[in-house]
């Protein structure tokens, strides 16, 4: 009698994330709207408040969380699997730790395999919240995390540009159709009154999480953790966006 063939990595994804409270994908259907800045700064803000937080950069072809947080390349420690790097109180994983600045061109199937491999071997341990920094678009990686991580919630980033609003509307349609829980819609790089993004959130009955003002000097803060903590982005995210312990259905924070 025989039985064939299972991908052993898929079987252990749930085990590897068993100690994680909430899993939140920071996503946005349009590139260049600041998903990585939001994801990394959100992680930093939570860590500074004593929340056990992980940050997983899933933009494999253009990882940038390490740039935002000022982290150099070094291989993760190899134990029973691999340990995320502890960076400014955040447990962090990125392909940039392995490949440095070398370009990593990948088609969708390869990105799926890389995601599965890292999910199968990364030891996240006990976290209140794991933040996934999603690549732009509504393609492979979005579907992968929806399929692989049943507890996934999305935090959608947009701004008031008509180009972005149109794109975010498509994303909201899709996530609603797929019944993916939404943390809410966040406006980044706000230049006007934010009404367009708030209205869109209302149209789809998802929480509007607030607006992060456009900050011309933010570039100087990227990679400099003290300047990042002093930035308007950090202040706005800390004040408005999320408290992972505010979800009544979320598991209690795990002891570290």
């Amino acid at each position: 009698m025989g039985r064939s063939s299972i991908d052993p990595r898929q079987v252990v994804v749930g085990d590897r994330l068993a100690g994680v409270g909430r899993i939140i994908g920071v996503t946005g259907s349009k590139g260049g709207i600041g998903k990585s800045v939001v994801a990394a700064t959100l992680a930093l803000s939570l860590a500074d408040r004593g929340v056990a937080v992980g940050l997983f950069d899933l933009d494999f072809t253009s990882p940038s969380d390490h740039v935002v947080l000022g982290v150099d390349r070094s291989f993760p420690d190899e134990v029973f699997g691999i340990d995320p790097h502890r960076v400014h109180g955040i447990d962090m994983m990125s392909v940039a730790f392995f490949a440095g600045e070398v370009p990593v061109p990948m088609r969708g199937d390869a990105a799926t395999n890389a995601l599965l491999e890292l999910l199968a071997i990364t030891r996240w341990g006990d976290l209140d919240i794991l933040i996934l920094d999603m690549p732009p678009g509504l393609g492979d990686t979005n579907f992968d995390v929806i399929h692989l991580l049943p507890r996934l919630e999305f935090l959608l980033v947009g701004n008031g540009s008509r180009v972005v609003i149109e794109s975010v509307r498509r994303a909201l349609h899709l996530f609603k159709e797929l019944k993916v829980p939404m943390v809410g819609l966040l406006e980044n790089m706000q230049r006007s009154d934010g009404a367009a993004v708030a209205d869109l959130a209302g149209e789809f009955d998802v929480p509007f999480l607030g607006s992060i003002p456009y900050e011309p000097d933010l570039e100087e803060a990227l990679g400099d953790i003290d300047l990042l903590r002093a930035s308007q982005v950090y202040t706005a995210i800390r004040a408005e966006v999320i408290d992972p312990r505010s979800d009544p259905e979320a598991p209690a924070p795990a002891p570290r």
């Binding site: 009698m1 039985r3 990948m106 088609r107």
Partner: protein
């Protein structure tokens, strides 16, 4: 030793497969280890026997049949097919990166015929649970 985590995934997948098939005794677990990932076979086999839960009787006498599968690449641009010996992946950091994430070969390997990094890994990527064999299958 991330082989332990990979071995753990194989053992859990074998148990899952046995559950699905109603198999009460797993006699053989047939695993292929892809050449690209450069898993040390002896270490992996040692890991397999060390991650079996003590209370798990279905795996008490199981033979783990681990064999290596050669890596094959196929260029998406010129359709050339090639193997490990045709690409230069001997730098230690490159090899270690690929050991953890075989897809990082896209950062370093190029088609020997046209130079493209746009290739598929058609065989020998990583660890595959080919099948399990056993008895007590009362499934359909």
């Amino acid at each position: 030793m991330h082989e332990l985590a990979l071995a753990d995934s194989v053992v859990k997948a074998a148990l899952r497969a046995a559950d699905d098939a109603g198999m009460k005794n797993i006699e053989r677990v047939i695993v292929k280890v892809g050449e690209l990932q450069q898993i040390e076979k002896d270490l992996f086999e040692f890991s397999l026997t060390n991650v079996i839960p003590h209370e798990e009787e279905r795996l008490a006498d199981t033979v783990f049949d681990v064999s290596e599968e050669l890596v094959r690449f196929e260029c998406r641009f010129c359709r050339h097919e090639y193997g490990r010996e045709d690409v230069d992946l001997d730098d230690d950091d490159q090899a270690e990166a690929i050991h953890f994430i075989p897809e990082l070969s896209h950062a370093y390997a190029r088609c020997p015929q046209c130079g493209s990094p746009d290739f598929d890994i058609t065989a020998g990527r990583g660890i595959t649970l080919e099948r399990i064999e056993g008895s007590g299958d009362d499934g359909p």
